[in-house]
């Protein structure tokens, strides 16, 4: 049993960054996730693990610090909330193009624009469909508890380095701010400079003696070569899609209807599921843990299994529901229920939506 603590999601995330052996955090304060950089500066990890923590002048600077640091083979991460993540999209596109492993956390708040500081899930399109320019993908992990705010950090770093790809942990203001019991994992030591050099020969940390220089760039002015690079990226994304889908299911075995929800919406939907089961309605819950790659095949299996309809529950105007529809491909009914602007739906609203939108009067 690891160390137990009562923590905010943002604090658990920050502690996990230190414990995951991160070499650097570069960030800019924004509500509702400023506790992350506050926790890190207070914890002084440069004195314990040697981790660098720096408050940048903007989110534009912090994502480009990740570009520079990640390209040297070091484990680097940042966190922000929706408006700040929008500012990072240029950098993420470059990082994806140059294939640099970085971890970015989005504690989503209501939008569009400055929106508000309440929890939301309205950045799903941005994180799973590109966000920045060009054909690229982020691996997106969606925690639904304070425990997962901690647990997903080392997983995110592992995926980032396994595929040399940016990984996003997409949380929301509720999970960032709420306090829960969390079991902390044992600290993972930071790699030494020599280990970094040996493990990541692609990294730009000083040309090897007698070896070839390395270049980290997303630029290639030769269209034929750039097309080949794009094909290489697409093959990588295909491999990720084949191997890295993560989800959790509840009561799907005998379900007539399945709620699809992630993050905070999944927590609320779990309660709704209990209420519906108590009414004798056979409902299951599918919780995507990776928003990209998406559990498309799992949804298709559920259709084959005889599920009559799906309800996508989101704190958005209906974003993930498009992926549910793509997976279902018109075979059965797909409905959506959501609240926007930072409003968290109640379990009763979800029950009502499932009964009226999916089952009918």
């Amino acid at each position: 049993m690891g160390e137990l603590r009562l923590m905010k999601g943002n604090e658990a995330l920050a502690e996990a960054m230190i414990r995951a052996g991160a070499d650097g955090y570069f960030g800019y304060p924004i509500t509702p996730q400023s506790e992350v950089i506050e926790y890190l500066t207070a914890a002084k990890p440069h004195e314990s693990t040697g981790m660098v923590v720096l408050q940048a002048e903007s989110e534009v600077a912090s994502i480009n610090m990740l570009y520079g640091g990640g390209a040297t083979g070091k484990k680097v991460c940042t966190s922000s909330s929706s408006p700040g993540i929008s500012l990072m999209q240029e950098g993420l596109s470059y990082i994806a193009g140059a294939e640099i492993p970085v971890v970015v956390v989005n504690v989503v708040r209501g939008g569009p624009g400055l929106g508000d500081i309440q929890p939301s899930q309205s950045d799903y399109f941005q994180s799973t469909k590109g966000g920045g320019h060009g054909d690229y993908r982020l691996i997106v992990l969606a925690p639904s508890s304070v425990q997962e705010m901690s647990d997903f950090v080392p997983i995110a770093f592992d995926l980032a380095f396994k595929y040399r790809n940016p990984v996003m942990i997409q949380s929301d203001g509720a999970i960032g701010q709420m306090m829960e019991k969390v079991e902390l994992f044992e600290p993972i030591p930071r790699l030494t400079d020599k280990q970094v050099k040996d493990l990541y020969p692609w990294a730009t940390n000083g040309k090897p003696k007698g070896g070839q220089r390395r270049i980290m760039t997303s630029l290639d002015l030769d269209p034929a070569r750039l097309e080949r690079h794009n094909h290489h990226l697409q093959e990588k994304y295909h491999t990720i899609d084949e191997n890295e889908v993560r989800f959790e299911e509840f009561n799907c075995e005998d379900a007539d209807y399945v709620i699809v929800a992630y993050g905070s919406s999944a927590r609320i939907s779990q309660k709704a599921l209990q209420l519906l089961r108590a009414k004798g309605i056979k409902v299951g819950l599918l919780r995507p843990i990776t928003l990209w790659p998406y559990p498309t095949k799992k949804i298709q299996e559920l259709v084959k299994q005889g599920v009559k309809g799906f309800l996508s529950v989101e704190m958005s105007a209906g974003q993930m529901v498009e992926d549910v529809k793509l997976a279902v491909n018109g075979k059965v009914k797909v409905e959506f229920f959501g609240r926007v602007g930072g409003i968290i739906p109640s379990p009763e609203e979800v029950v009502d939506a499932l009964e009226h939108k999916l089952i009918g009067e």
């Binding site: 650097g24 660098v52 912090s62 390209a71 240029e90 090897p208």
Partner: protein, 262 residues
């Protein structure tokens, strides 16, 4: 001169000049007469002379020198437009024993990347910034830069820069010299052999500062020409630069060892 006579001349004892060892074989993509090639060469010579070939990471910008990494035979990263100082900040903080520099043009450093420039300088990041100022956006076809002189014609100031409409040419080098985080700030040029020698000395001083762990950032502006953007011959461009750029952007040290030159 016959082939045999030339062969007799090519001997080590007659060698006065050669391609810098740390410049790659790739032909430079710069226009004939442009100062970028000389500036690249000087940096590579300095890194070679300081024995830092295997311990240096360079960051290239967006602009004419976007392909700087093609010509410099060391580990390099290619930044997004204006962001090189942010990349360099993280590289240096994560690898404090390495030598880190950025190479940036005027649009990159003094327009889109102003925030990154000012804050890297103000934090006193222990890096070297080489800033090539030719008063124009060369890569995109000769548009107005933040450093374009008053009255200077560019493709987006076709009747000359009107400061009432377009603002004033930005003396970013004087600006960063005011910040406590800068340790060495100088303005040089590479338009004749004397200037090249002085510029190399300044570049070497900047890199030596970093190796010596001097408390702050070293910033070298190189005032250069853009004969194709300025629509002049290389010789005319250099003369125009001396007559027009140098009075506004005077050559010489601005801050040495953390002290402003009076």
């Amino acid at each position: 001169m016959s082939e045999i006579a030339i062969q007799n001349i090519i001997k080590p004892e007659n060698l006065v000049y050669q391609k810098s060892r740390l410049m790659t074989e790739k032909p430079l993509s710069y226009c004939p007469g442009c100062g970028h090639g000389t500036a690249h060469r000087l940096i590579m010579e300095v890194i070679d002379e300081l024995g830092k070939e295997n311990d240096t990471i360079g960051v290239a910008p967006v602009g004419c020198s976007v392909l700087a990494y093609e010509f410099m035979d060391i580990d390099m990263q290619e930044a997004a437009h204006g962001r090189a100082p942010a990349l360099a900040t993280a590289i240096k903080r994560l690898w404090p024993d390495k030598v880190v520099f950025t190479y940036q043009g005027d649009g990159d450093l003094a327009a889109i990347g102003t925030a990154e420039t000012i804050h890297a300088c103000n934090r006193g990041e222990k890096i070297v910034i080489v800033f090539v100022n030719n008063g124009i956006y060369g890569m995109t076809g000769g548009q107005m830069a933040p450093t374009t002189l008053e009255g200077m014609k560019t493709s987006t100031s076709p009747y000359g820069r009107d400061v009432a409409l377009m603002g004033n040419p930005l003396k970013i080098t004087e600006l960063v010299a005011q910040l406590p985080g800068t340790y060495y700030v100088t303005r040089q040029s590479v338009h004749n052999p004397g200037a090249v020698r002085k510029a190399k000395k300044a570049i070497k001083k900047a890199f030596q500062n970093q190796i010596d762990n001097a408390p702050g950032l070293s910033f070298i502006e190189i005032v250069s020409n853009c004969n194709s953007g300025w629509k002049m011959t290389p010789v005319d461009a250099n003369n125009w630069m001396v007559d027009n750029m140098f009075p506004y952007y005077p050559i010489g040290d601005i801050k040495v060892d953390g002290e402003l030159i009076k």
